[in-house]
Symmetry: D2
Subunit: 399 residues, 4 copies
């Protein structure tokens, strides 16, 4: 019999705040009630702020991030449209696959797993596309499988350098609300998220934000869409309602989680994620003497770290042992990196003490699996960083 709480350190779903959990523990409600728009209208507005969009429109569907991909693609593109993509992990792979299933003409650049969106290559391809056949450029802001964050501002610069009008589509499922997303500043046209990552909710909501340019493209886009279609949403959302029954409990939870993000302050949320993530990285490299899957610091993700185990070890054993014996859920290595990495998700409603569980538990599981890291070395490296980083921020506050 397992005792105690499960320590959940996969890269989403995350540890829901109790406030959010309580906010969702409500009776069901009449989605056609006269006061229902009092929930919907300001919520859509505030979610837009999380995307840092000023002129965009937010859509919320009962669904997942995968549904968000579908919604973004099917509402803006037409069969045979050419798109530029890159693939460097399981999720960027699946996204590419979806585009192919939709019959798009996918130009996909394969990159080593552990690296991110290839900016120079993007720029080169876009410059070469003088006839502007490429209708959309795709960038995965955070590849959850490898713990790699890509430079979305850099993708915008590549587009601008090529003076290219393609739409910019960003997969922000495991980054938005944890890592900075600046839709307006970076000219992102479709940004996709889900409820169970930075929004700290259960799985069940597709959350996307789209630019006016995307809405314009939508008018001529020919890919079929019904459930994830924007037109009915645009019409009904304008009145504070939805075209079909919305997932009201999740919406109530989203209201609370967005309130929490606002109360903490988005920049503080991002800084906290960075501080927590940096502690984990210190544990991995300075403490354990291991390395991250992310090949360079510029690609270090602040929401998930994929840790490469020594050649002669099997990460699956570490993950299995952590779960069975220590009631700790770590993320597994997917596809190409199965057995080679285990992942620690460090996003959502977390603090230093909570996160130390992932490190102490991983240490025990690694040692049980024959990876003889020094006991306490990872935790010590992380806590000492957190402690002094925190002291630093306190010092700053005092100035």
């Amino acid at each position: 019999m397992k005792t105690g709480y499960n320590a959940l350190f996969i890269p989403g779903p995350t540890n829901m705040p109790m406030r959010v959990r309580r906010a969702m523990d409500v009776s069901l409600e009449d989605m056609r009630a006269p006061d229902f728009p009092e929930l919907v209208t300001p919520l859509l507005e505030d979610v837009r702020k999380v995307f840092k969009s000023e002129t965009g429109q937010v859509f919320i569907f009962p669904g997942t991030g995968t549904g968000g991909w579908e919604s973004g693609i099917s509402n803006t593109l037409s069969p045979g449209d050419k798109v530029l993509m890159s693939r460097f992990g399981q999720f960027s792979h699946l996204w590419t696959d979806m585009c192919e299933r939709f019959g798009l003409d996918v130009h996909c650049i394969d990159v080593e797993w552990g690296e991110g969106v290839p900016l120079e290559e993007y720029e080169r391809v876009l410059k070469a596309d003088t006839r502007h056949e490429i209708k959309a450029v795709f960038a995965c802001q955070n590849e959850t499988a490898t713990g790699v964050t890509s430079d979305i501002a850099g993708v915008r610069r590549a587009l601008d350098a090529a003076n290219h009008p393609a739409l910019l589509m960003v997969d922000g499922v495991s980054s938005i609300a944890s890592i900075d997303m600046r839709m307006e500043e970076w000219g992102v046209d479709v940004a996709v998220s889900g409820s169970q990552k930075g929004f700290m909710l259960p799985t069940g909501l597709t959350i996307i934000c789209v630019s006016q340019k995307a809405l314009e493209a939508h008018k001529t886009a020919k890919l079929p869409r019904t459930y994830f279609s924007w037109e009915d949403m645009i019409k009904l959302n304008a009145t504070g309602y939805f075209p079909y029954t919305p997932a009201t409990t999740l919406l109530r939870g989203l209201r609370e989680s967005v309130d929490m993000l606002m109360e903490e302050g988005l920049e503080n949320v991002f800084a906290r994620h960075h501080r927590l993530a940096e502690g984990v990285r210190r544990a991995v490299t300075d403490g354990w003497g291991l390395r991250l899957c992310a090949a360079e610091p510029k690609w270090h993700s602040d929401t998930v770290s994929a840790i490469v185990v020594p050649e002669d070890a099997d990460a699956r054993h570490v993950i299995g042992r952590a779960y069975e014996r220590y009631n700790l859920s770590l993320g597994s290595g997917l596809a190409k990196v199965a057995g080679r990495v285990f992942r620690i998700g460090h996003l959502g409603w977390l603090n230093e003490v909570m996160l130390s569980q992932a490190l102490s538990g991983a240490e025990m599981a690694m040692r049980d699996s024959g990876i003889m890291v020094e006991p306490g070395s990872g935790v010590g490296a992380a806590t000492e960083y957190w402690r002094t980083a925190a002291a630093g921020s306190i010092a700053q506050e005092a100035e």
Copy 2:
């Protein structure tokens, strides 16, 4: 300030049982954990029993009933396929509309709102279709807008009489788990439901069951699908997992609600819904002297009653007053019947005493709106029926 609980008597979402609510109030969990299939595999099996399917396959997506329609259509049909439909309410209307958006060749029979699927007409059309161009026949088992239940066994008989091989697609969103659905016996190929009706959960799950014949059709169906696609589900569900992050809190709730349905016994659940509904109908006709939108007893729905207000009255006023003054949510009249009907949903986790709230509240709201039904007349007619019907059932038990 409104006091007390909102009395929710719309035809879904419903009054969740506290057991279900508690079952969903759980921490998020690792959807790749080794013991996750212990939840998934028996759950899919037991949901199938609710559909009374023996050889079919259940699919559960984060979504809604509308998503279920899309999943059923896009996974079995190809562009230009001819389908036979009928339209007699807002939901059968929207279903037709979806087929048209998918580019199907829709043969739609329009019927008076208040009637159901036109069996003779269906049989006639099917018999005339000697070349079997019609690929699928659609039937809405329960039209939520008008409180009309159609005879699905009759549709099967029509198909058989014509010896027609078309697929039989049934919208059971507001009937399944409340009104009998016998997929196997009636040869239903795709039955669509959602979480927030008879399954007594929040909105957020698309729940469908499909026959082997539908799975066969799926192999050659050409409509595009990604999110709601069956192939990835088939592959992953076989291992007890999902192709993308499932809505675990809702799955935990579904486990509990299916347990409750099994504990009560499906036939008892149906009998209870019938008994409760019949009480409401007695209130409407014997008590208030009003009439139902459903034109004939054979079309009376056991999950929702649409009540026609007198010519000089506006049902919107009744609904508004009920909500604002009495904290009672009644269903509104949609589209064609807006202002002409108000609806009482009587499905899900209900008993006689709970349902009496809808009647006493509706009486007050009607009188406040100038519809001078006798105070207590509806409640009295219903309770006396329930009381004696119950006594009857108790007498039976004693035999």
Copy 3:
């Protein structure tokens, strides 16, 4: 298998508001945390407002109303002290019994069950007590067993007419926060309540408010007390803490329920209780042709109605049937009135539509028990009163 919610219409515990329930669904907390007083200090202050005390002190113990009686008695009186009491129901009986167990010299006036505190008799006794041997006068504001509310202002007048210095002790367990209690104006010295009545919480808190005069008496009171002692509370509460571990989940709930009482406004809360109660009384007398246990309108309780069944009927059967068959909990007749009355509690988080459940359910249970009230007669009498009383209040608002 019982289906649907249990309709809880006993005179406490009550139907908790979901807001309160959620407020209590929290992790446990450190009762010595530096910010714990941020909960405690304003809460004690605001609870005092519910008692309408300006100079008194509130004490909250993990306990019940019975514990409140003990706390009030043992902290202000000494063995052998003479006290004036009256007995007219099960709870005033038990209170008397407690005083006797404490070795007090109890002068108890027995009154017919159905009547309240005998004001003239009190005045006579007090005037006769020229040597002021009576140290305390006890008055049960609301006798829960018979549905009788007594006139506390009248008891004060009796004391004043006799110019008597005795303490005034009031049992307000089933009245406070539902029926007006004016500690300051009426010169009440100890008022006792519990969490599970007007405060809309689970059982588990003893809530009392005491005057400065009672605190003065406390200094010389000789009855033994430890757990319910005031001195340690006074000392620790002044710092925002408690002498022993407080029931933090209930305190969080109390914070929410007091917020709700304030938001609605105490006078509105009282008016609502009166309006709801009056509807029930109309149902009993005008609808069913039965009578209340409370002998005169001046004694009608706004929190509970005890309904006398016909001579040849047994109220226990009504109650049993209501529970077993209709999932409705009615209050039973206690001691002397067992079998003669059933009780409907109408206090706490209620509205008209909710309360109609008790009436429709009682009608069914009575008819099943051979008490052939007209079906719908009680509900109709109540709803018509509520409807027009509400209209009146709306008319007033419009002026």
Copy 4:
């Protein structure tokens, strides 16, 4: 703004299991319902098993452990009775104080804080009491303030060696359900617990178990008691009911927590507490080079460790910093040891990974407070012990 969960490592209240939390999130219920005994009767029976009593009787009051002391004392003793006690921490001190307030003739042996019940001294005093004037011997099984566990079997041996008939009263508030209590075997007459420690519930229940010998003593005991009196409880509990409104939500929680204790197995629960505690002790001594307040290993408590900070440090700073900066609640030093110790509670629903939070957080807070323990040293010492201890237990299982 604090982020993440508060890590609660005070020695009670504890981290409630979610199962228990859900079990308490129920509607209020009729405590006079015909099926209420189905909850009460088996619950009292099963709680008795936790005390390892075979012939005793369990009493449950809305209250706390302090109320349990009062109940035990007032129901078995008479004014002026001589009792033997020992004092070596804040809680044994308060217990002594309560006996004095009750007017008992307290023979109290003061022992150094850090030691436990002085067995030889007890034996000496009991042997000297040849006239058996001592009516009861008190022993605090677990002194929460110092983290000292006393040897109750040893106290029984002392009584037996003196052939003394005194009652044996045990304070097991912070031990029962976490540390072995064998009422029957050790001849304990009154054992006192509360809900918020080993029972893993919120504060709010007094839980005591008393022997037949105590029930016999009760018949002649003269101390006054009303609320915490046994006689009414005995009478009503026999029918499955309570003399006054019970705290039903907590009873539902207790049902669940007792179920969990039974599922895990009491011996496994004790072994787990020991293993977790031993890890903390390794952290303190081997990792940090500090010492425990408990003076000898035989007094090491498996539910709480009081850690002595270096002479030049202030434990209050560590505790304050842990709470304010790291959202970690540590127990403070009470009375004599204020500022000298901080405490880590390690009881209830815990596992290794959860408990590592207390260690990593304490390390950060100590270093921030100038106590320069090696980063990771405590966590490393604990985890390595846990890991190998666990391996050992697994090895055993395999045999």
